[in-house]
Amino acid sequence: MAPTDPILDARNIHAWYGSSHVLHGIDLKIARGETVGLLGRNGMGKSTLIRTLLGHVTQRDGQIHLFGHDVSKSKPHEVARRGVAYVPEGRGVFPNLTVRENLIMAARPSREASRGWSYERVLETFPRLTERLTNLGSQLSGGEQQMVSIGRALMTQPDLVILDEATEGLAPLIVNEIWNVIGDIRDSGIATLIVDRDFRRVLEHSDNALVLQKGLVELAGPASKVADDPALSGLLGV
């Protein structure tokens, strides 16, 4: 795999829930260190696309390559082990485990020690978790839960992080903190795929963006061009 090749190359992705055809042939490429924003109104297929890329949707078709490996038929844990971390919608903590256990359970050694996301580095990034290490996931606030979820994703030493509605339902101050961390992740050279209701911020943080409409890509390109496209507001219903 050449350094310029995309780390994720998904072509002609289709997905079904039972007899309902949800995705109708989506193409998506993410380069190393690139941030891609995924936009669209509710029910347009954003989460389904993510779940399909991760291997959670079993009724799927198309080609998905990760680092040159075909993962079109791979199981979720195989996709995760290839370097894809997922921060799911609605917080991703395990409520019955402590903060420390949540963080270290999925930890993998870093290939580059200096750039890796160690336990200490995660706690430096989210200092408020330091005081909550022995608390159960269920005892945390929504913001703290999201920090744990992002921290756990980073401790798998991913090359691609997928953030699905990471700021949903959080207080404005926490939202700012989460966006700052998303910026840090990007700066550390990790590619990201972001889904969020705040499309302005998504476009501000992204290199490229695509907008879904009824399971199809209606608008795609550099984030600045997508932001200026007159069709955007109609597609997002804003």
């Binding site: 991760l54 844990h77 195989e78 995760a80 799911p88 019955n96 359970m105 999925a106 798998t156």
Partner: protein, 336 residues
């Protein structure tokens, strides 16, 4: 260690201390009854690993218990005492192998299908011993001579009590250590959200299969002790009634807590003895199932977290009363 952890440890230590004292104070009948209860506690702990630890509701746990029991009897010499050092590992291994086989197939299903498949496999084992000469048919088979462990004869009530006691502690400690290990945390994660665990990079199937096999092995250990204690086995040891009873034990004690399985087993056996007592219930003791069933229904309705949740529920109740009293006083002071 938090205060809560300390109080839990003290509680468990107190139970084991009481069990250590009991044989010096209780009758032979009592010692025998407590031995049975400890065997059921081991059995309940085996299911707790699956239901409370991994979120797998197995409705065929009696099969592993029964296989352990039958193995112990079938492998015992007819006229000489067998060796515990051979019979015990053999019983545990046989139960574990059947659990590995059942788990490998049943863990491909989920929810109610998993419950039904485990029940089906248990019923298969039940009918093998029920309808063939292998296990003596409906009458079962006898262990004519109890096994020995060196100089210890398990035919002696006291000796069996202490061996069962030590094994119960060993199983409890093993499961406590296991639940705190990375493996145990992974099981806890699977219990809450298996899909999330897979997205985190865990292949969940081998973890569940390992838990299922360990659980079967522990149930087999319980079965071995039961066979040695009773000196006989019959197909009822593999019946769905027993699978249901052990499930009730952990529900009664409180699912998700090892000490819940311990307390649940004791509560269940003692309640059964209570309702069977003619001295207390007279003629009604013939219908002891009814009394036991109603008590269990009442317990589940009133104690949703089981007996281990009782102190917490009392605490909340008392706190609520104190808060209401303080509010009433504030209202009265304001009026004054």
């Amino acid at each position: 260690m938090t205060n809560n952890d300390t109080s839990k440890s003290v509680f468990v230590a107190a139970i084991f201390a009481a069990l250590a004292i009991y044989p010096f104070t209780g009758s032979e009948f009592g010692t025998d009854l407590v031995t049975t209860t400890m065997v059921f506690a081991i059995f309940a702990l085996s299911l707790e690993l699956l239901v409370g630890g991994t979120g797998l509701v197995c409705f065929g746990q009696a099969a592993f218990f029964g296989i352990g029991a039958y193995s112990a009897v079938l492998l015992s010499p007819q006229y000489d005492p067998g060796s515990v050092a051979i019979l015990l590992p053999a019983a545990v291994l046989t139960a574990a192998l059947y659990a590995l086989f059942v788990g490998a197939l049943s863990l491909r299903t989920k929810g109610v299908y998993f419950i039904m498949v485990t029940l089906a496999f248990a019923q298969m084992a039940y009918f093998v011993v029920h309808d063939t000469s292998l296990g003596g048919g409906t009458d079962g088979i006898y262990m004519t001579v109890k096994p020995t462990l060196g100089a210890i004869d398990l035919g002696d009530t006291q000796a069996l009590y202490w061996v069962t006691y030590v094994l119960l502690i060993a199983v409890f400690v093993f499961l406590a250590v296991l639940s705190r290990s990375r493996f145990g945390r992974a099981l806890a994660g699977i219990r809450v959200n298996e899909q999330r665990m897979r997205a985190t990079g865990f292949s969940t199937y081998p973890y569940k299969l390992a838990a299922f096999t360990i659980s079967g092995a522990i149930a087999g250990l319980g079965g071995f002790l039961f066979a040695v204690k009773d000196g006989a086995v019959n197909p009822e040891l593999m019946s769905w009634h027993l699978s249901g009873s052990v499930l009730v034990m952990i529900i009664l004690g409180g699912i998700g807590h090892l000490r819940g399985a311990l307390i649940g087993a004791f509560a269940f056996v003692l309640l059964e003895e209570l309702f069977k007592s003619e001295a207390i219930f007279g003629e009604f003791s013939k219908h002891w199932h009814l009394g036991l069933g109603m008590t269990i229904i009442a317990s589940v309705a009133l104690l949703p977290r089981g007996l281990v949740g009782l102190p917490g529920q009392w605490g909340q109740h008392l706190l609520g009363r104190a808060t209401r009293r303080a509010e009433d006083m504030e209202v009265q002071n304001a009026k004054a």
